[in-house]
């Protein structure tokens, strides 16, 4: 459009439309024919109003205050005022310097952000000073207010939008998007309970604890202290007729105190916090260091010490002769109603001596170091075992290697039966051999190893043998019809076994949810039969379809199977696996090791297999062309190519595992995490600080080392 700006400004502006939008946001647009625009404005405003009211209603949960419509209206008015000011500012800006559309858009964006910030800040002040001092109220007020401000802004914008609608100038939808995002941010702030004032309010209280965590090293060492302590025993409460423990005698050389009486009543604080003093004691002492301070410490009958405050001077100053006299009320000590017998407390006067640095590590520091080592080892072992188990899986889960593995139908059927038979024979052999060695109790490691070797070895061996045998028989010796029958029946039986397991599983797993347990159990065999017939039949049909010596993509089958298992195991977090480990072997590093190992196998299996999939296929082809067998091809053409990424991934995983093992301790997986969470629960923040430091140092060092090593290999 090349129309002069003067004409453009005068054209088609509609006050009635603006008025309509002022009553119901979006109505003006709707009437003018911009239905979608009008509806979306209305929806946005409605959502935001709902949100604002909901936020405001949150305040109603505080029974004393309720919903303050006055506050809401005041804040709404204030937002409107700011908005009008901003609109005026915008008008001025477009007339003076921001004459280009791009600068106008920028000015709009800046003003909107400014507007929201201004509204939030001003309303914060407004609430603080005028309406209420209560902080909770302020907090909810603040968000409801921001909501109100944004509602106001969009409302106002919709009026302006309706007014200019007939113009060539169509207000940028960017504005609406920006406002919508701001509304979302307000909602997000609410839902995630982001509370900046609280963060500032509470910050000071955290200082004491934070300092202990940030610099805990005093707790890491043992100090020699030469405190002077003198104690006296006091019975409280004092039943009639009791005289309490005997009164101390002054000691000629060591520090001493004499307390009278040694039997009295406890102070008592009622529910309103009003203190009713108990018996007043006279404490006299001597042989302390002269002109130095000492403090009074109280130990209740079960020996827990505390410093009583508000019952007299608990900070004492010794005289020139090292003696003192002071009056002190027996403090309020909660004695459980179940306590039996005389309740004898101890009053200590402690004069702190100088603490001498001995250079010896404290018990906790030693413990933390030891557990840190356990943690690193846990991560290391998990990585180590993980690699060993992930390697075979990764080759089986590499598409490019597995896709070429195909067998004839007969070979496949023979192989599966061989696999089952071989596994069974292997397990029998392993059971016999391990029984000779002393069984699971006598020789657990040997039993496990035997089972692993014989079951796996037997299964693989018979898979190969039976597969080859049936394949050859079918090709050379057996008449076609017999080979065909064997493969159909064989695959049918395999399907039947699979289907039976699935059916029983369905009955136990799914039916038992809907029907009573007894019914599900009774149905299990029937469901198994149905499953067996169904799947067995299907596979037999498939065998018929494939035909004699037809091709079965065994490799793809294995690939899909392994990938699925790896993906499932990997998508379950190590923390969850740690829970499984804890149920399995009880809390401790072993549980953590199991969790990390399982996750490592799955994660590395996937990473490795992807590395294998991305290799150059040329060398594989070259090796195959020389007549190399499958293993030789892998060793010469695949391994050299995947070695660098394997090393890189392994070190990366080791890094991750040590990090994770610190976390896994939190749920009971042993190691330093376990120690850390215990110390936090006991409010032993200095010790927790030591643990945090050790973890941080370890992770940082590991990070550096792993990055260095990986850089060198890739």
């Amino acid at each position: 459009m090349t129309a002069p700006p003067i004409i453009e400004e005068q054209r088609n502006r509609s006050l009635p439309q603006a008025a309509l939008s002022a009553v119901v946001p979006g109505l003006g647009q709707f009437v003018a024919g911009y239905r979608g625009r009008g509806l979306s404005i209305l929806l946005t405003v409605a959502t935001l109003v709902g949100l604002t009211i909901w936020t405001a209603a949150q305040r109603a949960r505080f029974p004393d205050y309720g919903f303050s419509s006055r506050a809401f209206l005041a804040l709404f008015g204030e937002s409107l005022a700011i908005l009008i000011f901003l609109v005026a500012l915008y008008y001025l800006a477009t007339r003076t310097f921001a004459t280009q559309p791009s600068t106008q858009a920028l000015a709009r964006a800046v003003l909107i952000v400014l507007g929201v910030v201004a509204i939030t800040l001003v309303s914060d002040i407004l609430i603080r000073t005028v309406i209420s001092e209560d902080q909770d109220r302020m907090l909810y007020g603040l968000t409801s207010l921001s909501g109100a401000a944004i509602v106001g802004a969009i409302w106002l914008w919709s009026i302006q939008d309706a007014y200019f609608l007939g113009d060539e100038f169509v207000p940028a939808t960017g504005t609406l998007i920006l406002l919508g995002s701001l509304a979302l941010i307000v909602l997000g702030t609410r839902v995630t309970q982001i509370d900046l004032p609280k963060a500032f309010r509470e910050y000071r209280d955290t200082q004491v604890i934070l300092r202990r965590i940030v610099w805990p090293w005093q707790a890491a060492f043992v100090y020699d202290t030469n405190d002077l302590i003198a104690s006296a025993r006091i019975q409280a409460p004092c039943p009639p007729g009791e005289t309490g423990p005997p009164v101390n005698e002054p000691h000629p050389d060591d520090p001493w105190i004499v307390v009278t009486p040694t039997c009295g009543d406890l102070s008592f604080r009622d529910s309103m916090g009003q203190l009713d003093f108990g018996t007043l004691m006279n404490i006299e002492g001597g042989n302390f260091r002269p002109n130095d301070t000492a403090r009074i410490q109280w130990q209740n009958p079960i020996g827990e010490p505390f410093t009583p405050r508000g019952f007299g001077e608990s900070e004492l100053v010794m005289g020139n002769d090292g003696g003192f006299t002071v009056e002190f009320y027996i403090p309020d000590v909660t004695i459980p109603s179940t306590a039996a017998g005389a309740q004898v407390h101890t009053l200590n006067v402690i004069q702190s001596g100088t603490a001498r640095f001995t250079g010896e590590l404290s018990r906790e520091m030693k413990l933390a170091l030891q557990e840190m080592l356990v943690t690193i080892m846990m991560g290391m072992m998990a990585t180590f075992v993980g690699i060993i188990l992930a390697l075979p899986f990764s080759f089986l889960a590499a598409r490019n290697l597995m896709n070429s593995i195909r067998s004839t139908l007969e070979g496949f059927v023979g192989g599966v039966f061989g696999l089952i038979a071989g596994g069974w024979i292997g397990s029998r052999v392993a059971a016999y051999l391990s029984a000779q060695l002393g069984g699971l109790e006598g020789a657990p490691v040997e039993t496990a190893a035997l089972n692993f070797i014989f079951v796996l070895g037997g299964a693989l061996l018979l898979y190969q043998l039976a597969g080859n045998l049936l394949d050859r028989l079918a090709k050379r010796a057996l008449p076609t019809i017999v080979a065909r029958l064997i493969s159909i029946i064989g695959l049918g039986i395999i399907g039947g076994l699979l289907g039976y397991a699935l059916g029983v599983g369905f009955a136990n797993g799914v039916l038992s949810i809907v029907y009573p347990a007894g019914f599900a159990v009774a149905m299990a065999p029937r469901a198994g039969l149905v499953g067996a017939l169904l799947i067995g039949g299907l596979l037999a049909l498939q065998a018929y379809r494939i035909g004699p010596s037809g091709e079965v993509t065994t490799g793809q089958l294995i690939y899909v199977l392994i990938r699925t298992v790896l993906n499932i195991v990997r998508s379950i977090e190590p923390l969850i696996w740690a829970l499984v480990g804890i149920i399995w072997v009880g809390p401790g590093p072993f549980a953590g090791f199991i969790a990390l190992t399982l996750h490592t196998i799955a994660a590395l299996g996937k990473l490795y297999s992807e590395a294998i999939e991305s290799i150059d296929p040329g060398p594989i082809e070259a090796l195959q062309a020389t007549g190399a067998n499958r293993l030789q091809t892998i060793v010469y053409a695949v391994v050299p190519q995947v070695l660098p990424p394997f090393i890189s991934f392994t070190i990366y995983r080791w890094d991750i595992n040590v990090r994770l093992s610190t976390i896994i301790g939190l749920v009971g997986g042993g190691g330093i995490g376990f120690l850390l969470i215990q110390w936090i629960r006991q409010f032993q923040y200095s010790y927790a600080g030591i643990a945090v430091w050790l973890i941080t140092i370890t992770v940082a060092v590991l990070d550096f080392v792993s990055a260095e090593i990986r850089e060198r290999f890739v």
Binding site: P619, T626, Q632
Partner: protein, 261 residues
């Protein structure tokens, strides 16, 4: 004698790479396969050692039906058919010597080879194979340190380790410059003439074809469209070559290059 009978290959994607191709290669032939990219040359070569499984047809070599061989038999057949590739297909991160030795995998004890143990005899054989192609001094270098021409020579040495009776060369000089192309092809020619190895080689350039081939077959879109003797090739003009080969045929621009050893 290699006899290809009614060979057809249809890939699982439905692409028909070869359509009923039949021809024979006499022992001691230097057969050159010409044709555009995608005309089925690579597929044809790979069907011969069954790197690509033929869909239909038979390939009989010295009376043995390669297409019907079992896996173990196939490995035995493959080890006496050397193969060299356009992109050399070396194991880049391994030493040259290891690359050459890997050509011997079909002969040695597979278990020893898995831990990269090679008897002295085999290592000497590898060194002499390298010597034959003139880069024995690079035996300890990593393959990725070599230039293209050197890599292809390692490829030939690897094939020599198989003591092959036939060599399949899949565009062996397409990634090399003209001078190197002659060097490489002259090695193949020497093997063909001195050791009486059958060579089946795919090439792009007419003058290379004229210089080295004793027989030529031409493929277009998977079909065999030309068979010619050495004499027929020698008489062939650029126009004829283009008609068979397609419009993109080129003459190599190196004239009078002397091949040295």
């Amino acid at each position: 004698m290699l006899s290809v009978e009614h060979l057809t290959k249809v890939y699982s994607t439905g692409t028909v790479a070869l359509k009923d191709v039949s021809f024979q290669v006499e022992e001691g032939d230097f057969l050159v396969v010409i044709g555009l990219s995608g005309s089925g040359k690579s597929t044809l070569l790979r069907c011969i050692n069954r790197l690509v499984e033929p869909t239909e047809g038979r390939i009989v070599w010295n009376g043995v039906d390669i297409t019907a061989a079992s896996e173990a038999e196939l490995r035995r057949i493959r080890r006496s058919i050397g193969m060299i590739f356009q992109h050399f297909n070396l194991i880049e991160r391994s030493a040259v010597l290891t690359n050459v030795l890997s050509g011997r995998t079909g002969y040695v004890n597979p278990w020893w080879s898995l831990i990269n143990y090679w008897p002295l005899k085999e290592r000497e054989r590898a060194l002499s194979a390298l010597q034959r192609v003139g880069i024995h001094e690079k035996a300890r270098n990593r393959a990725d340190e070599l230039s293209g021409g050197q890599k292809q020579r390692v490829g030939i040495a690897r094939a020599l380790m198989q003591e092959p009776k036939m060599i399949l060369a899949d565009e062996p000089v397409a990634s090399l410059d003209p001078v190197l192309a002659h060097t490489i092809l002259s090695y193949l020619e020497k093997l063909n003439q001195e050791d009486n190895m059958t060579i089946v080689c795919s090439l792009h350039y007419l003058d290379l074809v004229q210089r080295y081939a004793t027989r030529v077959i031409g493929l277009r879109e998977g079909e065999l469209i030309y068979q010619g003797s050495r004499e027929a090739i020698g008489r062939m003009t650029d126009e004829e070559f283009k008609r068979i080969y397609g419009e993109e045929a080129q003459r190599m621009a190196v004239v009078g290059h002397q091949v040295g050893t």
